[in-house]
């Protein structure tokens, strides 16, 4: 599953809303739950925590004795907690980006007299390939893996339905985009 849309600051704030934590623990939990295919670099953890502290959303405790470079405990502030609450309450925007790219390619292909159906078929093949990978992942996987794979599968399936519908209407769309 793509995690590019996950906000690192808000996710770290959310983890801190559970309990005060060290940077190392935050990274471990982030990677386990949200960064499964893209672990969060330590540098990004501390730079993000630094910005959150600067903005008054977390406080930094004094260094604690112990091994390792970082023994500072971070806690969420009331302002940070309010931000997490607002974020959780607000629906995520529907993701039109991929559809826009596909749509733009189809329209441009038709405008330029290229083979739009071939492009759609290539996209269909790519989607099915990814769906096959995700299907393999979910086969016998833990519940978390199954749910993450399902998220990707349902989105790819929706794209494929759009590809099918567009392919069926290519002639009409060609007429429309070629009009002066």
């Amino acid at each position: 599953m793509h995690t590019a849309g996950v906000s690192v600051p808000l996710t770290l704030l959310g983890l801190l809303d559970r309990e005060p934590s060290h940077g190392y623990d935050l990274k471990r939990d982030y990677d386990a739950f949200f960064g499964r295919d893209k672990p969060l670099p330590f540098g990004q953890v501390y730079s993000t925590l630094g910005r959150l502290a600067r903005d008054g959303k977390v406080t930094v405790g004094a260094s604690e004795p112990g091994d390792g470079p970082d023994r500072k405990r971070y806690s969420i502030t009331e302002a940070g907690r309010t931000e997490v609450e607002s974020w959780l309450a607000e629906p995520a925007p529907p993701e039109p980006h991929l559809q826009s790219v596909l749509f733009a390619k189809v329209v441009l292909a038709l405008m330029l007299g290229r083979d739009a159906a071939r492009y759609l078929d290539a996209q269909r093949g790519s989607h099915l390939r990814r769906m096959r990978e995700l299907t393999e992942t979910r086969r016998g996987g833990a519940t978390m893996d199954v749910l993450l794979a399902d998220y990707g599968l349902f989105h790819l399936e929706a794209d494929l339905r759009w590809i099918d519908a567009t392919e069926a209407r290519l002639s009409a769309l060609r007429e429309m985009v070629r009009k002066p």
């Binding site: 980006h97 078929d121 099915l128 995700l134």
Partner: protein, 246 residues
């Protein structure tokens, strides 16, 4: 998502690499009255391969399956199974081939409602002169394998849609066919049940080494297969699979 497309492999008109073709359609044409359904369909399916056939409604995908399975005979072209032309066989020999070498699962299980679950599964074996006791022993083994243990005495009308399709899968696989043909096998099921049924179909077919040809409009069903081909306007095209960078 990046849209940089990198060609991962060339289109495969034939079966997956290193597999000998078990089933082939060569330039197959088939019409119904004045309406052409297949117009030069070409397809090769490897032994043990799990192949999905997709395409818009009316594209000819079910007709192709019926031709491959020896249910329809082509107007023109050849169907080969294990190197042998089956379109030239007599009706009786094709019927025998379908009974011994092919299994079928359709959208609605087409089970016999007057019979019990065990009767339905044992039926192909009884028709094949397997002794009654042995037929029911093997039928019961399949019940357990497909998670239907304890349901053998029920009438098929008492089953849920998912259970009925599992019975249909058991009935199709019990004679150990070389090829399993499935036409929209999960078309009447909800999405979760559909996944369970497809997982069972694929895992049992793999375990048995059975070749599967599944016709579907459902991308999630197709994603359970190893390869997908598209049927459009009565012709088959391979789907080129690109690896999307990003």
């Amino acid at each position: 998502m990046s849209t940089d497309l990198t060609l991962a492999r060339e289109p495969e008109p034939g079966p997956a690499v290193s597999r000998r073709s078990l089933l082939e359609a060569r330039d197959v044409h088939r019409s119904f009255g004045q309406t052409p359904a297949l117009r030069g369909a070409q397809l090769a399916v490897g032994g043990g391969e799990i192949l999905a056939v997709m395409g818009p409604s009316g594209s000819g995908k079910s007709t192709l399956l019926h031709c491959l399975a020896g249910i329809y005979t082509p107007d023109q072209g050849e169907i080969r199974f294990d190197g042998q032309r089956i379109d030239e066989l007599s009706d009786a020999r094709r019927t025998e081939l379908r009974r011994t070498a092919f299994g079928f699962v359709f959208q609605f299980g087409q089970l016999i409602p007057e019979l019990t679950v065990s009767d339905n599964i044992a039926m192909p074996l009884l028709l094949g002169d397997v002794r009654r006791k042995e037929a029911y022993r093997r039928a019961d083994a399949w019940l357990d394998r497909l998670g239907l243990g304890g349901l053998g005495g029920r009438r098929t009308g008492e089953l849920s849609g998912g259970q009925a399709q599992r019975v249909a899968i058991a009935r199709a696989l019990v004679p150990q066919p070389k090829v399993l043909f499935a036409d929209e096998p999960t078309g009447s099921l909800d999405s979760l049940t559909s996944e369970t049924v497809m997982d069972l179909l694929v895992s049992t077919a793999r375990a048995e080494g059975t070749t599967v040809v599944v016709v579907t409009h459902d991308a999630r069903v197709a994603a359970c297969a190893e390869r997908t081909v598209m049927v459009r306007d009565g012709k088959v095209s391979a789907l080129t699979e690109y690896e999307v960078a990003g």
